[in-house]
Symmetry: D3
């Protein structure tokens, strides 16, 4: 059995059930998936659209990562398309593999097409995400970013409006910029990818599904093939003795809301 | 159930059992894996170390790809670390996803470390593989290629000598060039990755295992999530009518030797 | 005297006279140019617009390359703007130099301008050609690819329509994207470059002329200066003994139609 | 007068006087420089060698940034060569300009030489710093990173040993890799740059001095020329109303130890 | 006191007072700034829009550089946005630091925004300036170049027309291409940056101000911190004995018109 | 007949006969080649190892370029491996094509091998040449630069010493760095390339031969195919009226020593 944590990296838990339903629909039979939010120890932000909010969330993401590793999870998803704190979390994850929506979606899109576009909520996000895609090595395959003018918390507010905007943006990507596949650039664009595929005729990657599946893949690679994180050089973790001396991981309550989707 | 073909892209079938054993050890329970060689219709080369041999193999790889797609396989591995004819095969694969060892290994290595080296057989291979890694977008994470001076058909000839040479090369990568993980750059380096992990203390990715698992992952993404190849723009396949007019896929006998590893 | 083969890399020979006329018009006095098609041993495709067709053609291109080298040709052109199998052919060409239209055109365009566009037939071609241009190192000088919506076999069907479409695409490149020169991205765009130069006021490189002239240049460099292909490392050819053992080059009939344009 | 904050981004204040002395020696006459440490609200780590510690520090760095901006500072230095949270802090800095040692040192080194090396403490740091240098656009000018095997807290422990190790590393950079200038890759390598210049005969950039001077330069550009941070697109800050709603900046005590170096 | 030369790299001195006024407005109190034109020894060109004119100016720029260094200037600005002969001048500048408008503007823009556009006079300039920006490592942050169709000598001819054109171009950059800051790509676009900031709401960097301030910064780094040009490897200057033997710097009259703005 | 000028871009004419002999040996029958030095109007430097000397030479190179174009030359070689003033000269060359040794050698090396090294005289040269190779798009194919510690004027002083040093450097490139071909990185390394080929077993490109042949190739392309320089956008030349107004090309005596090698 693979034990997967899908971490909602904010304290706002209203969407957790949405992702739990996604997990129930898409997970492998032998996966147990926990959907967990953070505690709201440092403010009650409901999204990470600003670097400021990410900066406030990183400590809690690391607390959650280490705790999940200690609890025996095989893989953890950081559920934000910024892939917030991915490299930080990988440092402290022990044998657990940490994955994230952007890199997971890019790998899939690149296996199904040669060029793809990313549909985002707001112009604000593009530069940061573009740098992330460059850093991962996939920028040469990008047709561009397409903004629909919605904030993270807007996508699920009015489904027909969201659908219309996503289709418009996708059409621009496909018809003008010759995108051969699309990636939805926010985990809260959940629920629309099939409709877009039908209308636009290209593969459309939902990032929360992609990251959940990538986590299962990583867990299988770990459990079946023994492929675990390196701890050499830049992958070196702080020593346990220094962690104790610095007194960093002493917080008991790390997770807020949690929904468990059991193995079938 | 996922139906996977692991294609040995030459007519030489002596190693097929080796890969069948690998599949038996590492495959998912619900996978049925076929290990198939090509027919020897165009010469009896036993390896693809030269572009010349690849050029002779590409037609047969495409015949096999289309046939596998028609037979209902979900994913196909082209079993050579050159990822020979990967882009060609993807064009003609229909809904089947085609994967290959180099890209599969890179994705895994990049999820477990920040910098990694690739251990190859001969200097001859390096430039071509380097270009492939660049094309995939992973060259910035490469510490280098490390050659052990063995041809493809030498790796399994004297296991203790191969092991010694791979460890030496791996040590150079890790200690001098600060590689944090290693990739074995030939499917016939099979059987050594665990020993190298033990000795060198870094993750060591076996490319045949990596590509089999990547194929299963792709098959799951296809069957569970509906993620299938794009057929837009550069991903467009020739029309069936033109294929008929050109009379290209009229060969009956496409596969040579085949070993089936049934689902558990 | 330089002995040049201009290879039409398909079995379809209807256009051979067109290229023979081009050669007669543009070749050096002391060049003997052979325009040769392939045999139609593996299907009767008349163009290489799909990777699939290229994959079927590669073996025959290599048979032709080796035979041309054995017959004492100094240089060989692979007459397709995809530069199909160029690197493969270079491996097996002995002392003969292999050239191709894309790289030949890029070198010339870069010596006459700083930025240039490429006019192609169909969107299908762009991604592959773009990757080729990147691989050659010229992508920073590219304003873009401009598609006219014609297949390879359409260009010579209705000259006035083709001319109109090429001029429209060229105008877009020059006026909107500030291209300073143009490259015609298909050998079958032959016959139009002078008209485009007149209308658009920039140099327009015809790729079949470019590659023929580059082959003559290579032949001169070989015969006069002794500059022949490297056979070190990635340029190493298979050994003759292995080629014999693998029984790869045993086909007698390699060339189909051939037209010889004698030295003046 | 320019008002500058040099932020020590950890709670450990033992080195604050060292940087205050540096400021006293190197600051402009009309600058008032505050050397401030963070509070130790989230653990008492004394360095940021691990991403884990950075992740714990980011929130406090942002609290300090916003507070400094509100207190009327013109420019703020984040005093760590990782340039920890630089992009985050720039988002929330209002009209204050945020600078950091790595980018400040690169600008200076590139104005004094064409190629330079960076001397770091431990191999651990190199990959992250290399990515930072690439992100800033200076990687083509880098000869490499040179590690001396010392942690951040070791540099000031035994000055003669540190000096010897830095000179050895610098010599390797200059003599073997042809570095034309050197950057010290940790603010705690303070106190050695002049000696290295004398011994090695190339400019040696101390990053704490570089960042202090860059902050003064930024402050002057702001006060004299009106050059202030953009707030468009990716530079957009969260709205004040959302910040209030999310209750993020409600902590009173932001700074720990503070030393003020008055304007002359 | 910092002694700065702002070199007008042509013999045409009509604009010198304009830059002297700029210096008077923006310089540091303790700077003495000399605005100097070249002599018109090789023709009376009034701008450097063509490489031809640059090629005629380089010798005189080097004569001026060496003379300024000998006269004890701390830093010299080459006052053209092509950064004409910057690398040449740096070779012969001794301990004096040479700066130029393009690199100075890029550093500032990158500290205030993540993406910026450059407003130029004519399409002619763009390719050369683009290559310069790439060479400096800032091209990934560029939204593009925006041409207003004015020559260097047109900008100051009709201020209201210039203003209108600059605002139009800036609006295109900001609104269509999402530029977060702007750089004026010609020193003669002087006088408009504040108006553009007001209208467009983003930072607008004037290159002559930027380069003057960068020169003062460089002078301060030299005088206060001892940061002087490297003379190793590619930074090596010709030996004095060879310069004497070659008889290159024997011209007495180097500067044409000169205006001195004294320290306050 | 093709009329070629091989320009020695300094006033020092002692080596002109050497290049005339090279031309006599290697030129096409129907080429008339003029070997011309510059006048010594601005000092008597005998080499261009320093940017300073290049800056002094550029005006005279442009005078020579324009004069050669007016005299009906089809192509001109700027005979220095720095490709000094190549882009400047191309602007003013009219219908004449300007070529240079570095780009000419790179094109040939890339057609004969996949990776190659460049053997230079002094470390001083490397950074500038490396930037040039990057600018041309060939840096990915470079194994490195190899310095022998000789100045331009040393290569012909002691042939056996030069030969020994070039072979040593070449061996390092081929054996350690796996270069598959070599380029001699100075026109004064003339006379050694055949010996190096014999000893090292890889193609060795002499840059003066390469550039002469490239000029003949360009001349043929011009005369036979009509491929002439673009004059659009960045390729625009100054207007004749402005050139007259600026009084730039009024010097009568442009060429110094000239040796003519007549057509056969």
């Amino acid at each position: 059995m693979n034990k997967i944590m899908y971490l909602n990296p904010v304290g706002f838990s209203d969407y957790d059930q949405l992702f739990a339903d996604m997990a129930a629909d898409y997970k492998d039979n032998d996966s147990e998936v926990h959907i967990s939010s953070l505690t709201q120890s440092v403010g009650n932000f409901s999204h990470l659209e600003y670097r400021t909010y990410e900066a406030f969330a990183t400590r809690d993401i690391l607390l959650a990562t280490r705790k999940a590793s200690q609890l025996g999870f095989d893989a953890l998803v950081i559920g934000c398309f910024y892939d917030t704190a991915l490299e930080d979390a990988r440092e402290i994850s022990g044998d657990m593999i940490v994955v994230a929506p952007c890199i997971a979606s890019l790998e899939i899109a690149a296996s199904l097409s040669n060029r793809f576009g990313i549909i985002v909520g707001r112009d604000k996000w593009i530069n940061q995400m573009h740098n992330t895609v460059k850093h991962y090595g996939y920028s040469e395959q990008l047709t561009g970013f397409y903004s629909v003018g919605l904030g993270v918390n807007d996508f699920q507010a009015d489904h027909s409006r969201t659908e219309k905007l996503l289709i418009e943006a996708g059409r621009k990507a496909v018809e003008e910029d010759k995108a051969e596949a699309l990636i939805l650039g926010c985990t809260l664009e959940i629920g629309f990818h099939k409709k877009l595929e039908d209308v636009l005729g290209v593969p459309v990657i939902d990032p929360s599904i992609a990251s959940l599946k990538r986590a299962e893949y990583a867990a299988t690679l770990k459990n079946k093939c023994g492929f675990k994180p390196s701890r050499k050089y830049s992958c070196e973790a702080p020593s346990e003795s220094e962690l104790t001396a610095f007194n960093l991981f002493n917080q008991e309550q790390v997770f807020g809301n949690t929904i468990t989707v059991a193995a079938n």
